[in-house]
């Protein structure tokens, strides 16, 4: 009985959290003669025509490719660059280590919205406005990821590395062969969040991009809605194109993501 109540509550929350997505998906499949205002979750005559039609109206696949490029570069630069910096902070002794740590820590405290306009001026100074490079650069190596990976590297036992030093491994070899493989879990989280953050980002691309050819999906969609709000089927198709890759990526990696939480809950 208690279990039944728990499932009922869980199902109710499930409906609230994914219901809107399902409805949007249903809308994207509705044909031109169907009423998109009715709360119909099952289209009478499902069609993928809207996905082709939205591509005729705005270059939605170009937007998606732009987003994919930006997000992929972001994953690589964050995983590699943040790991390198985190490794130096955690495992190498040198003068100025505290100073470098303070720079990363204070970067976290600066809210992005507060430097928005100033950052735009920097990009203009570099001649990078209206380029995808400008979209990538500010978040390319996030300070938060540097500190996350620093903590992960700190947790590694010192003995293994000492043995490698005796074997004559230099710092780069110890980093790539020993340290990096042993923080895989943290790297997955960093990769997932870098991809998500970059794919979902809206404010910065909105400010720095002006040429429609270079739009990422998020601002492309906002533009699509502004122009063709009368045909919700197309907007719905666009939003599904934007959200589906992320859901698939998350489903692939969710085990790693919830593992810590889940294990704790069982032990609890």
């Amino acid at each position: 009985m208690k279990l039944a109540l728990r499932y009922a509550a869980l199902l109710a929350i499930l409906a609230i959290s994914i219901g809107p997505f399902l409805w949007q998906f249903a809308t994207s499949l509705k044909g031109p003669t169907e009423d998109v205002f009715l709360p119909d979750f099952i289209p009478n005559d499902p069609t993928f025509g809207n996905y082709a039609a939205v591509a005729d109206v705005v270059p939605v696949w170009t937007f998606a490719l732009n987003s994919l490029g930006v997000a992929s570069v972001n994953v690589v630069t964050n995983c590699l660059g943040a790991a390198m910096a985190g490794y130096a902070l955690a495992r190498l002794k040198f003068r100025g280590r505290r100073f470098a740590g303070v720079i990363f820590a204070s970067s976290i405290l600066v809210p992005f919205e507060a430097i928005l306009i100033s950052l735009f001026l920097v990009m203009r100074g570099l001649g990078l406005t209206d380029t995808l490079t400008a979209v990538v650069l500010p978040g390319a190596i996030a300070a938060l990821n540097v500190l996350l990976l620093r903590n992960a590297f700190l947790a590694l036992p010192a003995e293994v590395e000492e043995a490698a030093v005796i074997d004559g491994a230099n710092a780069w070899q110890r980093f790539t062969r020993l340290a990096l493989p042993s923080v895989k879990g943290t790297l997955v989280v960093v990769a997932l969040f870098s991809f998500m953050f970059s794919w979902d980002d809206f404010l910065w691309p909105l400010v720095v991009l002006s040429d429609q050819e270079k739009y990422t999906l998020t601002i492309g969609l906002a533009y699509l809605q502004g122009t063709f709000v009368q045909n919700q089927r197309l907007v719905a198709a666009g939003t599904i194109i934007a959200v589906l890759p992320l859901i698939l990526l998350f489903l692939l990696l969710q085990k790693h993501f919830f593992r810590g939480v889940g294990e704790g809950a069982i032990k609890g």
Binding site: L217, F258, G268
Partner: protein, 289 residues
């Protein structure tokens, strides 16, 4: 020494370069610009506190600050409480719980733009929510056309999108609540509600303060939800505008007033930092008790 003296700096160079160029320098520059009349074309003379005087007399600033503050006040209580209740439901390992947790997290993964567009359509005057309202015998409500309702609708979207995110934070914290506390309370004859208030809440208080801080800072700097639900206008006559929307509209484009936008950014930064400091202090007092 196991490495050459410059090796650590080679490791640090890319990360430090990005942080210095695209966070620290713009931040310092923002503070400098706040005291100038710089325009979009550059230049700018030192004008002292003129920008701040202008701000104090600018009704748009007060409106935006008020809306941001209201937004923050509106979203913090539901975001502290609702995800906790959901986490307690999702904590127990029952068959299929992974599916539920993943589904609850879906709105977090979906970008603010996707979420904003879906809800714009749900709350449209012809949308699903209004169809339900009408079917129940009510009249259609202008969720997106009335400036107050637009703010409240955006808050609902923010809360809806935050449920899964804060649920995960609570799940991690709940896993650390000692089980014997619950068992002891049960032996003492405390029911589930009693145990929630006397066991769960006290042991989770630091996490609740953290969630309050995160959701307050995020609430105050809201942009996407208001921007999208209002179709980029900031509400009818701009009446639902918030601080970040104002900064964005003042500082952008060929007519951008960079100096004034920087002064607004400076104020935003001070407020957000203040919010963080207050929470840190609350947390410290918590630890002393």
């Amino acid at each position: 020494m196991t490495h050459r003296p410059y090796t650590p700096w080679l490791f640090l160079a890319p990360g430090l370069a990005i942080c210095l160029m695209f966070t620290i320098f713009p931040f310092v520059n923002m503070i400098v610009l706040a005291f100038t009349d710089a325009s979009a074309l550059g230049g700018g003379r030192f004008t002292g506190v003129d920008n701040f005087v202008r701000m104090a007399e600018d009704p748009k600033f007060w409106l935006a600050a008020r809306n941001s503050a209201l937004y923050m006040i509106g979203v913090v209580p539901p975001l502290v409480l609702l995800p906790l209740l959901i986490a307690m439901l999702a904590q127990k390992v029952v068959p299929g719980i992974g599916i539920f947790r993943t589904a609850f997290f879906t709105p977090v993964i979906a970008s603010a733009v996707v979420v904003g567009l879906i809800w714009t359509w749900l709350l449209d005057s012809r949308g699903l929510v209004n169809n339900v309202v009408e079917a129940l015998g009510g009249t259609r409500i202008g969720f997106l056309t009335d400036s107050t309702l637009l703010l409240i609708s955006s808050m609902v979207v923010t809360v809806w999108r935050g449920l899964g995110y804060y649920m995960v934070i609570y799940l991690a914290a709940l896993a650390n609540v000692p089980k014997d506390l619950h068992e002891a309370a049960m032996v003492d004859g405390a029911g589930p509600i009693r145990r929630f208030w006397s066991v769960t809440v006290p042991s989770l208080r630091p996490t609740m303060v953290l969630v309050a801080a995160l959701s307050a800072v995020n609430g105050f700097r809201v942009f996407s939800e208001i921007y999208l639900l209002s179709g980029g206008t900031g509400g009818p006559g701009g009446a639902s505008t918030t601080m970040v929307l104002l900064i964005q509209s003042v500082g952008r484009g060929l007519t951008g007033e960079v100096g004034y936008a920087s002064a607004l950014s400076f104020v935003l930064f001070v407020i957000l930092l203040g919010l963080l400091l207050v929470t840190l202090k609350l947390n410290r007092r918590e630890e002393q008790l």
